[in-house]
């Protein structure tokens, strides 16, 4: 244990060879551990991994190494866009539970509600340099709890509940947690016949400080294949079934599901990829209510104050945005996708009066879509000499594409 700890403290060149060797282990746990270790080696390890892939004897190992290389590259990309991932190290011996929970504070999560736990009792708990999701999972398990994510008044909270979450494969990747959220058997019977099927759902959670965009994407989470223990396809075409499935994703998560053969030899391997849109850059925009500066260009879009009127109780304003039309339709769609999602939801639109006082507005409606949109904003207080409007504009949306491969997926026992 101590040796393993020391090795992990100081990654050395030999580590790469050692962990590459363990990618061919019979044990899923050892393979997973090797995968995790290799992913932390950084882009410098890629040439050796590529050599190992070319030399690997079996297709499964080649696929694993390819996934590791892709993950290393992806980590570097995500670090550029979102900054470094929050890592957690806790070394608690006989520490109060409330203090350990306090160490999991993170931007975007207001509190961790201990539920029925006695927070004055003490716990031994250690994690070292793990992602926030992994630390939370491991702490919940140590406390014989699971957790739910709640949202109230603009803040997320974590609520601990009694009962440990069912074991299943989980991938922790930078700010994300990819897991099998559901694996269920379905025995459907009617007078017309009997149908047995199984269903697997993949869930991708993201850290609360990442702001997801509602910009529409075809498959935010995509399951490409489900392969059984003998390497055969276990997927079933959902249109062949008398049943339909509906996702109920948790907060801070995206989800996808797939129907599989109930009699597929286990364990199963689920592969796919994410394509999650997140806000990666916003900028503050100021427009005068009238005159030349009431219309400006932001990147590939034109933003303007279309109407402004003072009402008895306050004021009403319409902001309008359009994709610039200088390079044709294709350019508009490619470079400025989903104008409607560009006015930042997480900040207020503010009207500024002649004395520089700021008046918060409420968005009452938005009409538009891909390449144009109009937002109606009202201010409920009277404004003297209104001058300008300030808002935040989403200037970049980054689509996070993470390939995943979850091995060791088991369906629940068939018996009642």
């Amino acid at each position: 244990m101590l040796i393993a700890l020391l090795l992990s403290l100081a990654p050395v060149q030999d580590d790469v060879s050692k962990w590459i060797g363990r990618l061919e282990s019979e044990s899923i746990e050892e393979r997973d551990e090797a995968t995790r270790r290799l992913q932390t080696q950084g882009v410098g390890a890629i040439p050796r991994l590529e050599k190992a892939r070319d030399a690997a004897a079996d297709a499964a190992t080649k696929a694993r190494i390819d996934a590791i290389i892709a993950a290393i590259r992806k980590s570097a990309e995500l670090a550029k866009v979102f900054g470094p991932t929050k890592r957690v190290t806790i070394a608690a011996r006989g520490k109060l539970i409330k203090e350990v929970l306090g160490e999991l504070r993170t931007p975007g999560i207001k509190r961790i509600d201990p539920g029925r736990l006695d927070v004055e009792s003490r716990i031994d708990f250690q994690v070292r340099n793990v992602s926030w999701w992994e630390a939370l999972d491991r702490l919940a398990r140590a406390l014989k709890s699971r957790y739910e994510i709640t949202w109230q008044s603009g803040d997320y909270s974590i609520e601990l509940k009694p009962g440990v979450e069912a074991e299943g494969p989980v991938l922790y990747f930078e700010q994300f947690r990819i897991s099998v959220a559901e694996a269920k058997r379905v025995d459907f019977r009617t007078p017309a016949g009997k149908f047995e099927h199984a269903l697997v759902a993949i869930e991708v959670r993201h850290q609360a400080d990442l702001i997801s965009s509602r910009c529409p994407v075809a498959d935010v989470v995509r399951i490409d294949s489900v392969v059984d223990a003998k390497g055969a396809n276990a997927l079933i075409d959902p249109f062949d079934l008398p049943l339909r499935s509906y996702d109920n994703p948790l907060l801070l998560s995206y989800q996808a599901n797939a129907w599989v053969r109930h009699d597929a030899p286990q364990p199963l391997t689920v592969s796919g990829a994410t394509d999650m849109p997140f806000v990666s850059e916003t900028k503050e925009i100021e427009l005068d209510l009238e005159g030349d500066r009431s219309r400006i260009e932001v990147g590939k879009a034109r933003l303007s104050v279309e109407t402004f009127e003072q009402t008895g109780a306050g004021a009403r304003l319409t902001l309008r945005a359009e994709a610039k039309d200088d390079k044709g339709e294709e350019e508009r769609e490619e470079k400025v996708p989903w104008i409607m999602e560009r006015l930042d939801d997480s900040s207020e639109v503010v009207l500024v009066d002649g004395a520089g006082r700021r008046h918060a507005g409420s968005r009452v409606s938005s009409r538009g879509g891909k390449d144009r949109c109009a937002w109606e904003i009202t201010v409920s207080t009277g404004i003297e000499k209104p001058k300008r409007v300030i808002c935040r504009w989403v200037s970049e949306i980054h689509r996070v594409q993470i390939p995943f491969r979850l091995e060791g997926v088991r369906l629940p026992d068939r018996s009642k």
Binding site: A166, E182, D187, F188, P191, L199, P242, P249, L250, R414
Partner: protein, 349 residues
């Protein structure tokens, strides 16, 4: 065969104009051709029956005692064995105030009859999922209430049937009604089956785990239906025309041509609905969502109320000129019908 079909439909439609609301239950015994017996049943209850294509002719016998509409209809279809009126593979959308009989193996759903209603158990779906502390199982059963053609109960009419399951015992007599213990609620995927029928209301009910092959000894409770008698009211199709409907006004906003082509024009008629007091009856309560007009085929055509519940559009069939009049099915005073059910020994092997 087709001519005979048309004659049968014409006869039955003509005979049904003055249908009584609640015909008595029947006790009788008879034998003969299935269609003739079905027409006889239609006459006894004055509940319209339509025959889909391809029903195999067959002589059958029926014997019922103090039976309501669906109990008698089931006895007849069961005797034939090769027909059914639920889960039909039909392209024509069924009308709400008729029962369509089509070909297909008779399916014996566990059922309970009350007056002219039928409550049936459509399916059982056992789901075993991973949950805290191990395996979690539950069974989703789907109940369906069939209303006779003369009593509108369908959810499609903007009505909502309230269901209350009071007792559920598995084959061993164990209580499996949900709510007696905390069930894991972390499910991320819900599953439903896809069936529907005209003038029906469905209720999915989740029960504690049991073996569907051994089934349920008892499943009982009641369905409460808010229904209303319907009167047909006609108005002119002209911009500005209005019709008083209960405590509200229905007005024609516009009549525009949908497609300009000789003899192929369709007409969009836009309506708004305004309650006089501002808090009066809602559009969905006041009107069934169907209309018919002159110049068409006389069929009731569905319309969808827009978001906000104050306006809708009726698009006509292809016709050269806009219709002169349009008719709506105006709902009267609501009445509550309680349909108790008690289904015994229901198992799907």
């Amino acid at each position: 065969m087709m001519v005979a079909d048309l004659i049968l439909i014409a006869i039955s439609a003509g005979a049904l104009q003055e249908a009584p609301k609640d015909p008595p239950k029947v006790t009788y015994e008879d034998s003969g051709d299935f269609r003739l017996l079905a027409m006889d049943l239609e006459r006894r209850f004055r509940g319209r029956i339509r025959f889909a294509k391809g029903i195999p002719p067959k002589d059958v016998s029926i014997k019922v005692k103090d039976a309501g509409y669906f109990e008698a209809l089931d006895a007849l279809c069961r005797a034939h064995k090769g027909v059914r009126y639920y889960d039909l593979d039909e392209t024509r959308p069924p009308l709400l105030d008729e029962v369509t009989i089509g070909s297909g193996d008779w399916l014996e759903f566990p059922a309970s009859y009350h007056d002219h209603f039928k409550t049936a158990l459509l399916s059982m779906m056992r789901v075993a999922d991973r949950a805290p502390e191990g395996l979690s199982g539950s069974v989703l059963v789907v109940l369906v209430l069939h209303g006779p053609p003369w009593i509108p109960i369908s959810d499609e009419r903007g009505l909502a049937t309230e269901w209350k399951v009071e007792k559920a015992l598995d084959a061993d007599g164990k209580d499996v009604l949900e709510g007696r213990e905390e069930r894991y609620r972390g499910e991320r995927v819900s599953i439903s089956s896809m069936t529907s029928g005209p003038n029906t209301s469905q209720a999915p009910v989740r029960l504690r785990d049991f073996d569907p092959a051994r089934g349920l000894k008892v499943l009982s409770g009641k369905a409460s239906v808010r229904t209303a008698d319907v009167t047909i009211q006609r108005m002119k199709v002209e911009e500005g025309q209005s019709l008083e409907v209960g405590g509200a006004t229905l007005a024609v906003d516009s009549v525009t041509v949908d497609r300009v082509q000789p003899d192929r024009n369709k007409w969009d008629i836009e309506f708004t609905f305004k309650s006089k007091t501002g808090k009066g009856t809602s559009l969905k309560r006041a009107l069934e969502g169907r209309a018919r007009h002159d110049g068409g085929k006389g069929e009731w055509v569905r319309f969808n109320v827009r978001y906000g519940g104050q306006s809708f559009r009726v698009t006509t069939a292809a016709m050269e000129k806009p219709p002169a009049w349009i008719e709506f099915r105006v709902r009267g005073e609501e009445r509550l019908i309680e349909v108790p059910f008690h289904i015994k020994d229901a198992a799907f092997k």
